[in-house]
Symmetry: C2
Subunit: 358 residues, 2 copies
C-alpha cells in the first residue's frame, strides 16, 4: 500500500475498502454478541485487558474505524453480560490494540494519525501475518479485512517460462480460463499454504474461545477470476501494461513476468483449508452485502487512484519508478466503468472462526 | 532524534549513548540476577511471556543491544532458578518487547532494522512516557537509557521575557549560575512533575515485583549544569548560535527564546521524587563507570554529528530548516575537545527500582 497522506496514498484512496468495513460492521457486532464468551475468557469482573489485533492494517483511517467497531461491540456485550453488576460495567475494561502489517508498511503515518480520542492502548506490530507475531495465548480477537487474498509470494513455477504453469500474457492467474489453469493452481497451492500458515500462527496466539473475523474476496463456484469485478480490474491493468509494451516503452517479457500476488478462493476451498487445520470452528461464513459501487460509479481517475494506492508498490518494484505515473495515467484514460463493472459477480466473504478448546 | 540511516541520523551518530548502554550492561545483569524474583512474577514452570519495554528507544541499534542484554540476563536468571528442572529450562519462555518513543519517532526505520535473528516478538509503542502507554499490570521490566533527562516541555515562565525566570542569552537552564537560578528552578519543577508522571504511569503498568532500570545524566552536589560535560556541550552549541546571531543571520531574540528541554538532577533530588511517589523501592542508585571519552577523543565533526543527531529536531523547529547545516557546521569549526571536556564531572546515574506490592 502507498504510505503517507499524499494524493496517491492508501489513506486517501481506500474508500472501497472502507465500504467493506462498513458492510461488515453489523456482522461483527452480531458475531461478538453471539459468539464471544467473555466469562470463559476470564472477564468475570470489571477489570482486565481485552487484546485485539488488526492484521494487514495498512494505514488509517479504515483500520481505526474497524477497531472502534470491534471495541464498541465488545463493550456492548460486556454490559449485557454484567447488567446486574453496575451501571457502567465496562469502565474497568482496558483495550490493547495491535496494528499489524509488513515491515515496509508506513507505521510512521499510522502512528501520527491515530485518533486522539481513542480509548485504547495502541501498538504497531511489524511482520508477515503468515508467521508468528504474538506470544502464546495473548490475543482475544483477530480482525483482517481485504488482506488474506494477498499471497506471501508468487510461486516460482508461474515465473518460469519452461514451466507449464508459466503465466504469459496476463498479470493475474485467473483460474478456469483455458490455458492458464496450471498458473491458477500454482496460485491456489500458494494460497492454501499461506492460509494454513496464517491459521497455525493464530492457533498459537489466540486464547481458547478467542475469535477471528476476516473478510476476503471469493469467487462463486464456476466463475473464473477474470470474470469477477476484482479480476476484471486487474486484467484491465494488465491490458494497460500490454498497451504500453506495444508502444515499446516496456519490454513484453517484463509484462509476461509480472503477476499480481492475489488469489480469490471459492468459499468451499477456504472451508476445506480451515477444516483440515482443525484448530478453529467455523461459526459463520456469509456473503457481505454488496458495497454500493454501481450506484456511486466512481470516476476513472478515482478508480485508477484506488488501484494505484494498492498496487503501486508491486508495480514500482517490477517496472521501476519512472513508469508508475505513465501506467496509472493510461489506466485512467482507458477505463470505462460500465464496460468493466457490470454486475457483482465476486463475493466479499465474511468469515467468523472460534479457537476451539483442545 | 534524527530518523533514517543517513549521515546525520541518530542510528549512525549515537556511539556516546552506546557507551552508556555498554557500561550499564553488567549492572543490569546483576540487578536482574539479584532483584528479579521470577517465581513471584508467576514464571514457575517453563512457559510464560516475559514482557519488557524500552522507553525513549529512538531507532536502533542501541535499543536492540540494550534489549538483548536484558533478555540474556533474564534467561540466565531463569536457568539459575530452574537448574533442577531440565537442561534448557528457558526454552519455553517467550519475550515480548515493546519499543516506545514519541509519535514523531522514526518507527519505520526502527522496524526495518530489527535484528533478523531476534528471539522476541517486537512491538512499537508511540506516545510520551510521561503518560500511560500500557494496560494495567502488563509489564515485568522497564528500561530507559539517556531519556529521562528530556522534559516534556519548556516551562512557560522560562520563555516569558517579563518573568524573573526568563532564560535570556543561554540555551540551557544551568542552575547555580548566578542570575539564572529562577530559570533552573522552572526546569527543576518541570523535571519533578515529569518524573512523577513517569512513575505514576509505570506504577499502573508494572506488575508488583516488576523492575525499572534507567540511566540518566545527573550532577554531583554543588556542580552547576554549565560545568558538567553535557552542560558545556549544550552551552557551546548556545555560543555558536550567538556567534551566528552577531553576524545577523539569526535574530538575537530567537536565540534568547531557544532552550534545550533537558535537565540534569542531582541524585538526592531524584531520590526525593521517587520516595515521595511511594510506589517503588530504590534497589540501587549508583554512578555508572565513566565512558572512555577522554581516551577516544572524538573529532570535532564527530561530536557535532552526535549533537546534531540528538538536537536537530528542536533546532530545526525553532530556527528553521535552512539554518540547521550552518549551525552544526559552525559547531564543528569552533569545537576544541580538550578545552571543553576536561574531566568527568557529570555522572551517568544507574537507578534500579522495584514496584512495591501494595
Amino acid at each position: 500500500m502507498v504510505g503517507g497522506d499524499g494524493d496517491y496514498s492508501y489513506a486517501k484512496n481506500s474508500s472501497f475498502q472502507r465500504m467493506i468495513i462498513d458492510a461488515a460492521k453489523e456482522m461483527i457486532s452480531e458475531s461478538i454478541f453471539d459468539k464471544l464468551d467473555l466469562k470463559s475468557l476470564g472477564f468475570e469482573d470489571t477489570c482486565g485487558t481485552f487484546k485485539l489485533a488488526d492484521l494487514g492494517c495498512s494505514v488509517g483511517p479504515n483500520t481505526f474505524i474497524a477497531v472502534q467497531n470491534i471495541i464498541e461491540a465488545v463493550q456492548t456485550k460486556y454490559r449485557a453480560d454484567h447488567q446486574d453488576y453496575h451501571q457502567d460495567s465496562s469502565s474497568g475494561l482496558e483495550f490493547q490494540v495491535f496494528f499489524n502489517d509488513r515491515h515496509g508498511n508506513d507505521f510512521n503515518t499510522l502512528f501520527q494519525t491515530l485518533p486522539p480520542s481513542r480509548k485504547y492502548f495502541a501498538f504497531g506490530v511489524p511482520g508477515s501475518f503468515h508467521g508468528r507475531l504474538f506470544p502464546k495465548s495473548s490475543l482475544h480477537f483477530v480482525h483482517s479485512s481485504s488482506s488474506l487474498n494477498w499471497l506471501s509470494k508468487i510461486p516460482k513455477e508461474i515465473l518460469d517460462s519452461r514451466s507449464p504453469a508459466w503465466n504469459k500474457g496476463s498479470i493475474i492467474c485467473s483460474g478456469l480460463v483455458k490455458g492458464v489453469s496450471e498458473a491458477y493452481s500454482g496460485h491456489s497451492a500458494q494460497f492454501k499454504n499461506d492460509t494454513e500458515a496464517f491459521l497455525n500462527a493464530r492457533a498459537h496466539e489466540l486464547v481458547p474461545g478467542g475469535l477471528i473475523v476476516f473478510v476476503l474476496f471469493s469467487l462463486p463456484n464456476g466463475v473464473p477470476m477474470i470474470d469477477s469485478n476484482g479480476g476484471k480490474l486487474y486484467g484491465f491493468l494488465g491490458s494497460c501494461l500490454i498497451d504500453i509494451a506495444t508502444k515499446g516503452l516496456i519490454d513484453e517479457e517484463k509484462v509476461d513476468s509480472f503477476n499480481i500476488p492475489v488469489y480469490f478462493p471459492t468459499s468451499e476451498e477456504l472451508k476445506a483449508i480451515i477444516e483440515r487445520n482443525g484448530c478453529f470452528s467455523i461459526e459463520r461464513m456469509d456473503k457481505l452485502p454488496d458495497p454500493p459501487l454501481m450506484r456511486l460509479k466512481p470516476s476513472p481517475e478515482s478508480v485508477a487512484s484506488q488501484i494505484r494506492a494498492v498496487f503501486e508498490g508491486v508495480v514500482k518494484e517490477h517496472f521501476g519508478y519512472d513508469l508508475v505515473d505513465k501506467i496509472f495515467t493510461k489506466f485512467a484514460e482507458n477505463f470505462i466503468f460500465d464496460e468493466l463493472i457490470k454486475e457483482h459477480n465476486n463475493v466479499n466473504l465474511f468469515v467468523l472462526l472460534k479457537r476451539v478448546i483442545n
